[in-house]
């Protein structure tokens, strides 16, 4: 059987239909690639359906200034990204950038937070951005509903949020309009690198593509070694609570509490190393609720209508992995736990590079090789 040397049915197959996969598929299709997006079915581990929807900058990247810069770039591009999506699909993903707060409940925590922000910005090669450490009175002018336990907090004007479920839907609508072949119920079982292309055995039959992008979240850990890549990610569980729709009252997102464009108040979150178990723990929801009420006592009267536990896709250092395979060129992996914040980058910066054929030196720090260096004693 004859095949084009670097060919197959698709230029690129994106494996994973969550926020990372669909943002990449959207960007790849806009770059003129013929794209297939392979996804699992209705019930799957889907962090994209459970996240907190912040487009967040402050505090990220201590230990990897390149990640801080990457995050800031996405935040700066997000507004244009949202406009492109709206022009294309008619859907508004409700991106707002009113600046975000991290309120603190003790002077000790506030001091630690201030130190973290300072250390972050003192890193070599750090692209600095404005932020403020606020005392209680300053904070209260911006967030009038804070409770008596709040001693102050940090503020960053770059922080914002969006409607992340609508983002997922909008990207899916957008890729459909761009001609991406979306294939749900196509869990990838095996990938073979052959004749300069890739063959994937899936639950829905074989798919061939010249390039592949692993954006499968947790499943990238399983798939990466098949093409000489590595994605040592683990699930970290986080509980989230959401209240009934409420008239707008909270005009800035905070790390723990934000009001959605639809009116519900989202309240997070927890950090649990419990594998793939997504069973809710009432005690953890309770602790989250109690903290939120300390921040904003008036939340206590609101009704909780839903809660869930989602699984963050975490690398050992918490930073993303972006890498092309050395042994199977054309195979890329993209994994992060900030699929909302980084969506603009994935769509507008990363996808065109993959379409063009390579990531370049800028992405060297994001290689998974950083996890393989022997520990210096």
């Amino acid at each position: 059987m004859t095949q084009p040397s670097r060919g197959g049915e698709y230029d690129v197959a994106v494996i994973g239909g969550g926020l990372v996969g669909s943002a990449l598929a959207w960007g790849l299709a806009r770059s003129g690639q013929k794209v297939a997006m392979l996804d699992e079915g209705d019930i799957a581990v889907r962090p994209s359906r459970g996240n907190f929807a912040l487009v967040w900058v402050q505090g990220k990247g201590l230990g990897m200034p390149e990640y801080a810069g990457w995050t800031k770039q996405s935040s700066d591009d997000w507004s244009g990204f949202a406009d492109l999506l709206r022009e294309q699909t008619g859907l508004d993903v409700a991106y707002r950038r009113p600046g975000g707060f991290m309120p603190m409940l003790s002077e000790e925590d506030l001091q630690a937070r201030a130190n973290t922000m300072m250390r972050l910005h003192n890193q070599p090669d750090m692209i600095r951005y404005p932020y403020e450490v606020m005392d209680r009175e300053t904070l209260r002018k911006e967030l009038p509903f804070i409770g008596p336990d709040v001693v102050g907090g940090t503020y960053c004007p770059l922080d914002g949020h969006c409607n992340s479920l609508r983002l997922l839907r909008t990207l899916h609508k957008g890729i459909g309009m761009l001609g991406v072949d979306y294939r749900p119920n196509h869990r990838v079982e095996r990938i073979e690198h052959r004749d300069g292309g890739f063959r994937m055995s899936t639950a829905g039959g074989e798919i061939r593509a010249g390039k592949i992008v692993l954006a499968a979240g947790h499943d990238s850990a399983r798939l990466s070694p098949m093409v000489g890549l590595s994605a040592p990610v683990r699930p970290q569980r986080g509980h989230v609570i959401v209240t009934e729709k409420t008239a707008p009252f909270l005009h800035h997102p905070t790390v723990y509490v934000r009001q959605t464009d639809e009116g519900g108040v989202m309240i997070g979150d927890s950090f649990e190393e419990t594998g793939f178990d997504t069973t809710l723990q009432p005690g953890i929801s309770s602790a989250i609720a109690e903290r939120a009420i300390r921040f904003f006592p008036l939340l206590g009267k609101l009704n909780v209508v839903r809660s869930w536990a989602a699984l963050r896709v975490l690398t050992p250092d918490g930073f993303p992995i972006y890498e092309e395979s050395k042994t199977a060129p054309g195979a890329f992996v993209a994994t992060c736990h900030s699929g909302v914040t980084l969506a603009a980058n994935h769509a507008l910066t990363l996808a065109p590079l993959i379409a063009a054929g390579g990531l370049g030196d800028r992405f060297a720090p994001f290689s998974a090789r950083r996890f393989h260096v022997p520990q210096a004693a």
Binding site: D42, H172, A289, V304, S307
Partner: protein, 487 residues
Amino acid sequence: MSAQGSKFDFDIAVVGSGPAGLAAAALAASKGASVVLLDEQTEPGGQIYRAVTETPVRDRKVLGPDYWHGAELLGPLRDSGAVHWPGSTVWSVARPREDGPDGERRIQIGLSRNGAAAMLTVRHVILATGALERPFPIPGWTLPGVLGAGAAQVLLKTSGLVPSGATVMAGSGPLLWLLAWQYLQAGARIDAILDTTPKQNWRAALPLLPGFLRSPYLGKGMKLMLEVRRKLTVIGNVTALRAEGGLAGEGVLKSVVYTRNGTEHRLPADTLLLHQGVVPNLNLANATGCAQRWDEQQRCWRPTTDEWGATSVEGVSLAGDGAGIGGARAAEEAGRLAALDALHRLGRIGREQRDQSAAPFRAALDRALTGRAFLDTLYTPAEAFRVPADDTIVCRCEEITAGAVREAVRLGCSGPNQAKSFLRCGMGPCQGRLCGPTVTEVIAAERGVSPAEVGYYRLRPPVKPITLAELAALPKTDADIDAVFKH
């Protein structure tokens, strides 16, 4: 120290005080188990026997003898020693991460009572959550003045209220005829009954008629229906329905438009009572993680249970209509069977004793289920009323139309959970109770596959809203607090 004997620890919790719950709690407690019966309502009876202790409708012929049978379940409950906590909303049933300090397996029940949340621990839970009316999505079903027939019956039982002004009933199923009969007894006005039972259902059901005629209970329903048909205007073969409001469809119900033999007719209406059968109220079982299956005959999801009502989750069983529609009498017997099995699992009775004691209940259950297949077949709602046209709202909370669900399918949503995240259908306070069956069927029809393949919403606690303050006041372990604060 064992928590057993404390105010918040019991051998068995029964959730729901309809026929299944009342019978289960009474039997289990009478055999010496510590039992708590939890129910959201302030009085026992569930929906079928709603307000049976206090209904203002004292003329017994209005609500009929089947209703008053419910009162007979209350004596045994009182005598059994079961603790009855009415006004208690169960919002969560879960296995905790660790077993109790005594090594005993416990199940945690999240409960809201008098505005305060509490956690109970039990060794076994029997969910007797009953049924709710199958959604009846027609254009205009969200207008004020349109209610479920079951809702109207609750108004009659609890408050002696009947419709006034122009009243139309529409749909199919035993409850519709029972309510019409009760209204007749009470002297209430009904302008018309629009019967949506598909003509071809009679053909399909006919072979099952002999079984139905053997039923000691269901034959009475036939008599009711015949009396209603004799005394009221019943319009059959209705194939389309819509409710209309005032100007531009705003405001409250003004008229009902129906199609019969291809022709549209309009009736003025102040009240429209809709009904097309009932489906299991499975939110709590689903959120507890109980496996469920699609029942093609009843066209609904039902939790998977064995012959004792045991679910796929250890220590959790189901009894009554919540496990599949069988009616009040069947629910009662299923409650007793579940109670016997729970007693056996808790080591209070041996297998042999369980099986022996179960024999009469099982026989009674079989009797109660006689003829059910006929009813299920006859009253399977027409597809037009299960899979509505594009402009019809299916999710009342988020106001999502059938057309929007179909568009999500075209975007690649293969099931209700992805559709939910795309559209918010099922995300409102009712948590999919009023749209779940419809969304599954719309997706199935659009994809051309069985609802079994499409699946159902995956639900999470709280299955009923509780306030954030209630949630915040629950007990927490150090690990719980660390998971939130230590990061």
